[in-house]
């Protein structure tokens, strides 16, 4: 009553309020904002490109979605598997027909393009707790969602390419360890000449294929702000990275599948049968090798280092919410759930590396160690809407060079000029 000084009472109330707020905030680690008591209902559709017969799909269907539905009774999530090479097209047709799903697991390379087309919900505006999630994930993975300073998605899973090698093939070269540097790779190539074994194999010349070599050589494709390619893509360092591959190819130490022909032996099959000594690939290969080549022991090493170090390329997927969605509340909630510790852990168990900084995927599966290490220095491809066109252009020019129509320098010069124009379009 009036025996307690008013000021002290106010202070006590304030302290209680602050304490309560802090306690509530501390509880909300799994991201369900405690003030969101308006019941979520309805069904949302979720498109993804997990393979039809994969563990990832099973996890989604039997673990993730049921857990989400248990948390939010009366809701449902309909998942639709779309084959990866058709997902991009399907999203476009659906956008044209205003028939898009609510949530999509999109390749990180497409997010700027879709953002520019106005198809995606701006998450840092629609989600009051966006920062909470943004701070939980690796900055590099978050950056792939940024377009014109705004965020249109959240990272879902990440991956990178590391070197995978065949011990049997290395033995044929009289070598015991996988190449650690560019010079090691060149030596391996020389040692394998005439044996019928290829030192290195890759199935294309797009950004995903050549950027690890360009970056490891100390070069780059554009400047930091993605405004210019000339002076970067055709810099001496960049050229030397590609030139090394070209020299291997010229000496027939790289197979011609690099030109994209469909008749040759795929990289994984070649590695398992000791036809290819080394390839670059991602963590999804473990179950694939286990299924198709159970006798093959997959071994990994960092990408061979050049003057720029051992730098690989970041891949992965972002989860995006579609602007046209009719049930945004539920869509956003599902997005939050996909970034929860339990969901990320469940996916980590089946080959999807988590984007959460606090989740130690190596303890989930020791095979991830090499990828986690490589991710420390890996870089993303340019986060620009015109990336698909840039990628195609780069590949075409480099393929011309490998076919012998152009020198590597000329190819990169021409590519850089044309990429400048594309970058200018934003």
């Amino acid at each position: 009553m009036s025996s307690v000084p008013t000021r002290r009472r106010l202070l006590a109330t304030a302290a209680l309020a602050v304490a309560t707020a802090m306690a509530l905030a501390a509880c909300g680690d799994d991201a369900t904002p405690t003030n969101n008591n308006t019941a979520l209902s309805g069904t949302i559709t979720f498109w993804h490109a997990y393979s039809a017969d994969s563990q990832e799909v099973k996890t989604l269907e039997t673990v993730i979605i049921p857990a989400f539905k248990a948390k939010h009774p009366g809701t449902d999530v309909k998942e639709v598997a779309v084959p990866y090479d058709q997902l991009h097209q399907k999203l476009l047709t659906a956008a044209a027909g205003s028939d898009l799903p609510d949530v999509v697991r999109s390749d990180i390379a497409w997010v700027p393009e879709f953002s520019k087309l106005g198809l995606l919900e701006q998450l840092d505006a629609s989600m009051p707790d966006f920062q909470q999630f943004a701070s939980k994930v690796f900055p590099g993975t978050l950056a792939t969602n940024k377009y014109k300073g705004k965020y249109y998605g959240l990272p879902l899973d990440t991956n990178t390419r590391v070197q995978m090698y065949s011990e049997a093939a290395l033995t044929k070269a009289g070598v015991t360890a996988a190449p650690k540097t560019f010079d090691d790779l060149k030596t391996l190539g020389d040692k394998l000449t005439g044996t019928g074994v290829f030192a290195f194999a890759d199935n294309g010349l797009s950004g995903w294929n050549v950027l690890p070599w360009i970056w490891s050589a100390g070069g780059d494709i554009t400047d930091k702000d993605y405004t210019k390619a000339t002076g970067y893509l055709n810099s001496p360092a960049s050229v030397s990275g590609v030139q090394m591959l070209f020299d291997l190819y010229k000496k027939q130490e790289m197979p011609n599948i690099v030109l994209g022909g469909t008749g040759g032996t795929p990289t994984s099959d070649g590695l398992a049968t000791a036809k290819y000594a080394t390839i670059l690939d991602g963590p999804w290969m473990y179950p694939i090798f286990a299924g198709a080549h159970p006798d093959f022991k997959l071994q990994v090493a960092p990408v061979p280092a050049g003057p720029g170090g051992s730098v690989s390329v970041v891949g992965g997927e972002d989860v995006v919410v579609v602007k046209q969605s009719k049930n945004k509340a539920l869509a956003l909630e599902f997005t939050r759930y996909l970034l929860s510790d339990e969901a990320q852990l469940a996916f980590a168990k089946v080959g999807q590396m988590s984007v959460l900084q606090n989740l130690d995927v190596v303890s989930v599966n020791p095979n991830y160690r090499a990828f986690v290490e490589q991710l420390k220095t890996a870089r993303p491809r340019p986060v620009v809407p015109s990336w698909p066109k840039i990628d195609d252009l780069l590949q075409k020019k480099l393929q011309s060079a490998f076919k012998g129509d152009l020198t590597v320098q000329a190819a990169l010069d021409q590519a850089a000029t044309e990429i400048d124009t594309l970058l200018a379009q934003g």
Binding site: A49, S51, D53, S54, V80, D99, D269, I288
Partner: protein, 281 residues
């Protein structure tokens, strides 16, 4: 027939059968190899030298193809769509062919050749405009929408086929019925339809085949996995990072069974239907 002794005739027949067998082997060979691969566990699909008899042989691919991922549902969807398409296409094409063949009206030639234009346009390019049309008619993502578009797309060829046939039917029968008071509808039902059974069967078979094997439009317009048709399912077995050949072939072979069956049952009609002048434009 100066030198046509029985022995010469027999030699010729044997030579013919020999040549035909060689040709048939070339035609069937790829399929046989596909069957053989479908019984191999996937890791052996890339063996060298290739082996025709799989050892070990396994039905795992077939089991997985059929039971995984709602394959049976897709099969059923394909059956529904194909049957609907067949009936509707044959009916509408027969009606249209009858109109073209037996009635003179202004613009007949123009309308007919406009329809034939449909044969020349690649389906790929009008996927998006078709999708927009489908959306305004609320026919996206539905099996009946598929039937609608397949029938529309099949009009050109089947009308052409049946018109040729109807035109060659003797006009006297027509006229006799006409005199006795039979209107055009009655003539159509009691005269044309029964007599043109081979040509109708041919048309039905082509319509069935076209519907069963169609991929591009089905993939574009259907989003709901419950409504996928078989070609979509088969393409889906190509995972993101590897192709399971054994699985793909097992799924493909299961998908081929209905068309082979339909064709076997109706092939005698196809030939006689074509023979009786369905293609004499």
């Amino acid at each position: 027939m100066t030198l046509d002794t029985p022995r010469l005739r027999r030699t010729r027949t044997i030579a013919r059968i020999g040549a035909l067998t060689a040709g048939a082997v070339l035609m069937i060979g790829p399929f046989l190899y596909m069957v053989s691969t479908s019984f191999k566990p996937n890791m052996l699909a890339l063996e060298w030298p290739p082996r025709f008899i799989p050892r070990p042989a396994t039905v795992a691919n077939y089991v997985q193809a059929w039971s995984a991922n709602h394959f049976a549902q897709y099969f059923a969807n394909s059956v529904l769509v194909a049957c609907g398409t067949t009936v509707a296409t044959t009916l509408f094409a027969a009606l249209a062919a009858y109109g073209f063949a037996r009635f003179a009206f202004p613009g007949r030639t123009l309308l007919f050749w406009t329809m034939m234009l449909g044969l020349m346009v690649p389906g790929v390019v009008i996927l998006i405009p078709q999708f927009l049309v489908a959306r305004s008619l609320h026919l996206t993502n539905s099996l009946s929408g598929l039937v609608f578009f397949y029938v529309g797309g099949g009009m050109a060829f089947n009308t052409f086929l049946l018109r040729g046939f109807f035109e060659r039917m003797p006009r006297e029968l027509d006229e006799a019925m006409d005199i006795d008071g039979a209107g055009p509808v009655r003539r159509f039902i009691t005269l044309y339809l029964p007599l043109s059974r081979p040509a109708l069967a041919t048309s039905a078979i082509f319509a069935f085949l076209g519907s069963w094997d169609e991929y591009s439009w089905a993939f574009t317009s259907i989003n709901d996995p419950d409504r996928y048709t078989l070609p979509i399912a088969i393409a889906q077995y190509q995972g993101q990072h590897a192709t399971s050949w054994g699985l793909v072939f097992a799924a493909s072979l299961i998908g081929m069974l209905p068309v082979v069956l339909v064709f076997l049952l109706g092939q005698r009609h196809v030939v006689s239907g074509l023979q009786t002048g369905a293609l004499k434009a």
